[in-house]
Amino acid sequence: MDKIKFLSRSLLIVNILLITALVAQIIIFVISGLIDPGVVEDKMFGIFHHLIQAIQVFLLLIGLWNVQQGLQRMVRSGLYNIDTQKKSRKGGTLLILFGMVSIILNLIRISETNLSDLVGHLVQNVFTGLVGIGLLVFSEFVKNGIVLKEDVDLTI
C-alpha cells in the first residue's frame, strides 16, 4: 500500500505541475497567438497551434487525474473497489486517446519537425498509449478482483 500511496502522491504532484503548465500555456501562448497571429504563422495550424497543444495537455491531464483519483480511492477503500475500476478505465481510455491524437498530429506536422524529434515524439506517444492499454488491463484485474472479493466475503 505504501507504493500505491507514493504513486498517488507523485501523480498528484505531476498533475499540479501539468495544471500550472496548462494555465501558463493558455495565458502566454494561446492568447498571444490569437492576438498576434504573426508569432505562429509559420506553423501548420496557424493561430490554433498553441490551442491544439493546450487541448492535448488537457486530455493528458484529465487522464492522469482519473488515474490519480483511482489510486487515492484504492488507498482509502482497499485494493478492489468499483471507483478504482471505473477511474482506471476512464484514465486508460483517455491516455490511449491522447497517444492516438498526438501520433496523428505529429504525422500531420511532419514537415515542421526534424526526423529525430519526430521519432522521439512518436515513441513517447506510443508508450503513452501502451500505458493506457495497461490501465485498461489493470481495470479488468480490479473488476475480477471485486467479484472474487465478494465471493470470499460471502463464503461463510
Binding site: E150, D151, L154, T155, I156
Partner: protein
C-alpha cells in the same frame, strides 16, 4: 438460489439463539445472518461441520435443494 438454508427452523427446534450458535461455531452474528438469509455464496465444510456438531444434526437438515 435453489439451495435453501433451513437454519432458522433448526435453531428453533433445538431452542438455540443465533447469537449462541455464532459463538459456538466461531463466526460473527453478521455472517450467520448472511447464511440464514440465503445471501451467502458458499459455505465452508469447516463451518458446516461446526454447525452440525453444535446442533447435533446432518447437513441435509440445514441445506435443502428446491427446484425452481
Amino acid at each position: 438460489m435453489p439451495i435453501v438454508v433451513n437454519l432458522d427452523a433448526m435453531l428453533s427446534r433445538k431452542n438455540i439463539k443465533s447469537k449462541e450458535l455464532a459463538e459456538i461455531i466461531g463466526i460473527t452474528t453478521a455472517n450467520l445472518s448472511i447464511l440464514k438469509s440465503g445471501k451467502a455464496r458458499a459455505i465452508r465444510f469447516s463451518t458446516l461441520e461446526a454447525i452440525c456438531k453444535a446442533l447435533d444434526c446432518q447437513p441435509a437438515d440445514i441445506l435443502e435443494f428446491v427446484d425452481e
